[in-house]
């Protein structure tokens, strides 16, 4: 056998494999997911789904409404929004987006792929004041939620550099994960320039591959919680009544919190709060401060994205378990100040659907554990969600202010009172018509 032939026999298959792989990943594949797969994905809270596009797009076209939040979404008790929506055959189903550590910056990135699908539609955001620490988004948690695909979407979606996208690019660069052409693209945007045609070309191709990867593999590793939801739904009364639900909530909470005096879920208490941990946590949060935080500007990115999509958003601000706050020494007045600051940021830009539950942390069985809403808290949430979902889908216009990206705003001490006077919000519909 000639040497050339031998070489071909050795490397030929490798070469063919690579070409085949490249072709497969660069082809514009289409995929629609089955209803079951979407339902599973909507309740799975896996990072793969969070980081992907196709599944969310499919779901939002199919009557799912995104519930952006964090760890409280996984408190899947019988009163959880997903269970209520299923039990009472609502016209929507929640699509849970977020988990531990998914703060505003991660959420903003995750929102990139679905701008079209959410246009003029609805969304629910559960805000955690705990996000609003001095450094904001935890970089390690960000790595968990960082999606190169959404980073490509972000960069390629920029038509003109603005204060908002420059701020976003700078923040992404502070996170450990951006690499390669995405990193160079972020730098370009952060410097206020627009992407070069080479950058665009590379990003387009990368996006195409990542989109295919997303389409091929996003149903992989789904967490199946459907059984759990159906099981929980059976516990609920057949006709919807707040009183009856509240009764169930009390019953359920009573069974599940009987191991401690904090009203904390037994499992959580046993796993996370052993004697040593408890002793350590006593008075440990005395100096916590959520009023000065870079998170306020990161949060503005999320709002900006909603404004771009003209999405109608319901914001829910949960409380802290009062007994727990007393134990750890977290200051109630500080908490309220941060809540007010968040509300000011929302109200002043026209986001006026806010369900402020922040003062209800002492109500019995309102919280599932330390800072996560549960049982009766979910019933309270539903009293805001239900009427909100009954509204017609309409385009919403907002008055975005770049002021919220400034250090000055981030470091402004929390307001004692939300003022009633906001910069005038123009008539939304009129403004839209002019366009």
């Amino acid at each position: 056998m000639s040497n050339k032939r031998r070489l071909w026999q050795i490397f030929g298959p490798v070469l063919c494999a690579f070409i085949l792989l490249l072709v497969i990943f660069l082809m514009p594949w289409e995929r629609t997911f089955s209803k079951d797969a979407i339902y599973q994905a909507a309740n799975s809270q896996t990072t793969t789904i969070f980081k992907g596009s196709r599944m969310k797009q499919n779901a939002f076209d199919d009557g799912y409404v995104p519930f952006y939040g964090s760890s409280e979404l996984s408190r899947l008790d019988p009163l959880h929004p997903s269970v209520l929506a299923e039990k009472y055959h609502r016209n929507y189903r929640p699509f849970l987006l977020g988990g531990p550590g998914s703060q505003s910056l991660a959420q903003f990135l995750g929102m990139q792929g679905t701008a079209k699908q959410l246009k003029n539609k609805k969304a629910v955001v559960i805000i955690s004041p705990q996000w609003f620490t001095k450094i904001g988004q935890d970089p390690d948690a960000f790595s968990l939620y960082y999606s190169p695909l959404q980073a490509c979407n972000f960069l390629l979606g920029i038509k003109k550099t603005s204060v908002s996208n420059r701020y976003a690019a700078k923040r992404f660069l502070q996170m450990p994960e951006t690499k390669g052409v995405i990193k160079s693209g972020m730098k370009t945007i952060a410097n206020g320039q627009s992407l070069t045609s080479t950058q665009r070309f590379l990003l387009e191709n990368q996006r195409r591959m990542l989109n295919n990867e997303d389409k091929f593999f996003s149903t992989f590793q789904l967490r199946d919680r459907i059984q759990k939801i159906n099981g929980h739904a059976k516990l609920l009364p057949n006709t919807y009544s707040i009183k009856a639900l509240d009764q169930i909530a009390k019953q359920q909470a009573a069974i599940n919190t009987n191991s401690n005096s904090f009203g904390i879920n037994n499992k959580f208490y046993k796993m996370r709060l052993n004697k040593r941990a408890l002793a350590k946590l006593k008075d440990s949060q005395r100096d916590f401060n959520y009023t000065k935080s870079v998170e306020y500007s990161d949060f503005e990115l999320m709002l900006h994205q909603f404004a771009k999509q003209h999405t109608n958003v319901l914001f829910i601000i949960p409380p802290i378990n009062q007994k727990w706050a007393d134990y750890t020494g977290l200051s109630e007045s500080m908490y309220q100040k941060s809540v007010n600051k968040i509300k000011y940021q929302l109200n002043s830009q026209g986001f006026d659907k806010i369900e402020d539950l922040s003062k209800r942390g002492s109500e019995k069985y309102f919280m599932e554990d330390t800072i996560h809403i549960g049982w009766r808290g979910w019933v309270a949430v539903d009293q805001a969600v239900k009427p909100f979902m009954n509204q017609k889908n309409e385009p919403y216009n907002y008055n975005m202010r770049n002021y919220f990206y400034t250090k000055k705003w981030q470091n402004k001490p929390g307001m004692i009172k939300t003022t009633d006077k906001y910069p005038a919000v123009e008539n939304r519909k009129a403004a839209l018509k002019e366009k």
Partner: protein, 412 residues
């Protein structure tokens, strides 16, 4: 303008191979045409070494350089001493102790991070480089190595494909190959095996290893911890059994995959680095297992600890009974291996466990030899032997994993 270092840890992700292959092209073309581009090879190795130790790992890099200078000093001092015709035993011991000293200090450092030893810092690959220098000193003592060419020695110590975790090559073998180019026919055969090994490595490390280690293991681990806490007592549960098998599979596919990469890249460079794994799980007893699992390590321990100790003990007549002698040698070998893995209880217990296993195995083999007629030997017993060996090995890996420590004491 902030400058960002590209830091590449060897064989950790598929992109790494793209860079590696680009760097290898000139070497491959050269060797194919019968030329070994030594200077390029050195530059290539240095660049990839630099990429391991740059950025925030620069201190490791500095330590590597200091370590190398120290080892060269020890090796050449001892070589010089031997070349003068002297051969005192205590000098030999001193040289070995000096060569091992940095590794020992590093192991202490890792075990007791709260009491740092000034000036001592671990770097990636220190264990494996120490195997090489100790081996050279021992062979200088034997007179098997009479000359130590500085550039060859350095290339041997820093040989990039096997730098981080072996396989452990031998100096004399390496020196024979590294200055010549293989014949074309031989090289073509090498390329064929190298390509095959590379892809088998991908399958092992990035597919199978990923499934066992990244996909399943964390879930099983969590379930085992929860079930253990619920059961109380020794915190055993069926999940622990699942953990044992899953971890064993992960360990094998991850490490065998890595070893295949190292051998493959060596072959591309025209060096026949010895293989590390040879179907370990079809072993019919523990002895056979160690001839198939992490082979270069066990052969190293066999040649430089087991054999040396046996000769020493025979000369000094420490044991009357040869069986006792071999048992003591096994104990020494596996305890050393345990300590080498780290100064933690589970590594040491792992060593002890294997020592006991191989001693029992030896007893059994002797018993079997004596009673050949009574003990059946057929297909079934063969499979039974494989099954028993496999489970004993997996159990030892459960100890090795440190998961029991996490389960019982909450630390690893």
């Amino acid at each position: 303008m902030n400058f960002n270092f590209i830091n590449l840890q060897p064989y950790t992700n598929p992109q790494y191979f793209v860079y590696l292959m680009i760097g290898l092209v000139p070497i491959i073309i050269g060797l194919y045409h019968g030329h070994r581009l030594k200077i390029y090879e050195v530059a290539f190795s240095l660049v990839f070494l630099f990429l391991i130790f740059d950025g925030d790992k620069w201190q490791q890099g500095v330590n590597l350089i200091i370590y190398l200078l120290f080892q060269l000093l020890v090796s050449y001092w001892y070589l010089h001493y031997r070349q003068n015709g002297k051969n005192k035993t205590w000098v030999f011991y001193l040289a070995v102790v000096l060569a091992i000293l940095p590794l020992v200090l590093v192991k202490f450092q890792i075990a007791f991070p709260k009491a740092p030893i000034p000036g001592v810092l671990a770097f990636l690959g220190i264990s494996y480089i120490t195997f090489k220098t100790v081996q050279v000193i021992m062979e200088i003592r034997d007179g098997a190595i009479k000359e130590l060419d500085l550039s060859t020695y350095l290339r041997f110590l820093l040989f990039f494909p096997t730098f981080s975790s072996g396989p452990i090559d031998r100096y004399r073998r390496f020196a024979k190959e590294c200055n010549v180019a293989p014949k074309r026919d031989q090289y073509l055969a090498d390329l064929e095996i190298a390509t095959r090994n590379l892809f088998q490595g991908f399958l092992y490390k990035f597919v199978l290893g990923w499934f066992f280690g990244t996909y399943w293991l964390p879930k099983i681990s969590k379930a085992a911890l929860i079930a253990g806490a619920a059961n109380g007592g020794l915190k055993f549960s069926w999940w622990l059994v699942a953990y044992m098998y899953c971890y064993s599979m992960y360990l094998f596919f991850d490490f065998a995959g890595y070893s295949l990469f190292a051998v493959s890249i060596s072959n591309f460079m025209g060096i026949h680095t010895p293989v590390n794994f040879n179907k370990p799980f079809i072993s019919q007893n523990i002895k056979e297992f160690w001839n198939r699992w992490h082979m270069t390590l066990s052969f190293w321990f066999r040649d430089y600890i087991y054999m040396r100790f046996t000769f020493f003990a025979m000369k000094k007549k420490l044991f009357k009974n040869p069986i006792r002698l071999s048992q003591a040698a096994y104990l020494l070998l596996f305890l050393t291996m345990g300590f080498w893995h780290g100064l933690t209880w589970y590594y040491i217990v792992y060593g002890l466990f294997h020592a006991i296993a191989i001693i029992i195995n030896d007893c059994w083999l002797r018993y079997k030899k004596k009673h050949k007629e009574q003990i059946p030997s057929n297909k079934f017993t063969k499979w039974l032997a494989i099954f028993v060996t496999f489970n004993i090995v997996c159990f030892s890996f459960l100890i090795f994993s440190g998961f029991l420590s996490e389960l019982w004491f909450g630390w690893k």
